[in-house]
């Protein structure tokens, strides 16, 4: 579903990603872990077609980036730590706006479905600026799944959420991930949550994937031990 080969990203003289290789199969939920500045957000922005690769090949759902970016974007759902929503519009108006941009048939029915999925059906007429951070993030997920994407990208979705909101987001993410053969990539600093959700853990350090493991391969180690060992080896 996602194939990345020898990806390099430079901003001026600074190289952020250094020949990164990465694949995700349909049905996989990959947690991309790494310290601040490792290049996680840059990598996700390239996958989301918001940033151009300097070198390398990026293929998503069979389409090349950046040449076939519009076709890729139709198959992508993105949730970042910002909700990408308009505070002065209601929840339903925000979703209707995105439904227009994605040219969805029967948008009203789909909007109702996704609002139910994230538990905001009874708040659809409320302005988004009156929502708590957790509710905004749930609505952001509704926006991201509105067009039934094949690939989901989550960039630090738990940022700024309290314990209750994070637990609710866990449930929503599980619901989303199990609806269809999605490939999911999530960056997070919350190792406990990543361990609970992901089917594979990749560690990104200094612009490269330095370690990868499935929950079965972790064995008696927990994710924190694996993560620390991976970073020590890479140092």
């Amino acid at each position: 579903m996602i194939e990345v080969t020898k990806l390099v990203k430079r901003f001026g003289a600074k190289t952020i990603l250094r020949g990164l290789n990465f694949t995700v199969q349909p049905g996989e939920f990959v947690a991309l872990l790494g310290p601040n500045g490792a290049g996680k957000t840059t990598f996700l922005r390239i996958l989301a077609s918001l940033s151009r690769p300097s070198l390398g090949v990026v293929r998503i759902a069979g389409y090349n980036l950046p040449a076939q970016a519009a076709a890729v974007r139709r198959r992508l759902g993105v949730v970042s730590h910002q909700p990408l929503l308009y505070g002065d519009l209601t929840a339903a108006e925000n979703l209707a706006f995105y439904a227009d941009l994605y040219d969805l048939p029967q948008p009203a029915r789909r909007i109702e479905e996704v609002l139910r999925l994230v538990g905001l059906a009874n708040r659809h007429r409320d302005l988004v600026r009156t929502f708590s951070r957790g509710m905004q993030q749930r609505l952001a997920i509704a926006r991201a799944v509105l067009h039934n994407p094949e690939v989901m990208l989550f960039d630090e979705p738990y940022t700024g959420l309290d314990q209750d909101a994070s637990e609710m987001l866990d449930t929503v993410l599980k619901n989303v991930a199990t609806q269809g053969p999605h490939a999911v990539v999530m960056t997070s600093h919350d190792l406990a949550r990543a361990e609970n959700l992901a089917t594979r853990f990749d560690v990104l350090s200094r612009g490269q994937i330095v370690a990868s493991a499935t929950p079965a391969q972790l064995g008696s180690n927990n994710l924190l031990t694996f993560y620390k060992q991976a970073l020590e080896k890479a140092a």
């Binding site: 918001l50 992508l76 910002q82 909700p83 929503l85 002065d88 706006f97 941009l101």
Partner: protein, 225 residues
């Protein structure tokens, strides 16, 4: 609307208007600013009636330009602040549709301000500005101003110094529009022959077409990292 491109243009336009009519942040700010500029000109030139008449076209376009910059800066930074610009760029469409949606909404904001400022100016200065020629120049000048302004605002909004950067980039590039609009407006107010005014109108028209076409071609590159 069946065409997905036009549907996206309409969606961005409608969304901007709906958000503005609900928040009432942009148009009142532009309007207050524009009226203040008109008042400053009024008091500065109070004693000199001849000068007041002569500078009408210039004073009007200085007012429109400053108020327009305020609107352009605000409308794009509102997209950036909530990360909504990324939301727009993630849509699977030709990104020029976003540009044209933004162009029409900003043009609407500017025209609303102009529709209110022109009568206010007429009352204060006792000059009849309800001249079909002048209204045509106002429309053509605003189209050129907003066409360049939205493109540059999309670039400057990605920088930390966006509030300062936009006027610095915009005013030199939009100078032909301002000069042509001032000359054509002055010509219509002085009841000059149309043959004297038409070169300025042609310049405005060509500028509008060139910059709308240029924005259609380069907007995708301007907004991508």
């Amino acid at each position: 609307m069946k065409n997905p491109y036009l549907r996206a243009v309409w969606a961005v336009f409608r969304k901007d208007l709906a958000a503005e009519f609900r928040s009432r942040e942009l148009i009142p700010a532009m309007l207050v600013f524009a009226v203040l500029v008109v008042l400053i000109f009024y008091f500065a030139l109070e004693l000199d009636v001849k000068a007041r008449t002569a500078i009408t076209a210039g004073a009007l376009w200085v007012t429109f330009s400053f108020a327009g910059t305020l609107g352009l800066n605000r409308t794009m930074s509102a997209e950036k602040d909530q990360g909504c610009l990324d939301g727009l760029l993630l849509a699977p469409l030709d990104r020029s549709a976003i540009y044209f949606g933004k162009f029409f909404s900003n043009l609407a904001f500017m025209l609303i301000v102009e529709v209110i400022v022109i009568p206010a100016y007429s009352l204060l200065y006792n000059i009849n500005l309800f001249n079909r020629g002048l209204l045509l120049v106002t429309l053509l000048g605003s189209v050129g101003y907003v066409a360049v302004g939205v493109l540059l605002a999309s670039m400057s909004v990605q920088t930390r110094t966006r509030d300062v950067l936009l006027p610095v980039l915009l005013f030199p590039l939009v100078l032909p529009v301002i000069v042509a609009a001032v000359k054509a407006s002055g010509g219509f107010l002085a009841a000059d022959a149309f043959t004297e005014i038409s070169p300025w109108l042609n310049l405005l028209l060509v500028y509008d077409i060139i910059f709308l076409a240029a924005a259609f071609m380069v907007f995708d590159y301007v907004v991508e990292e």
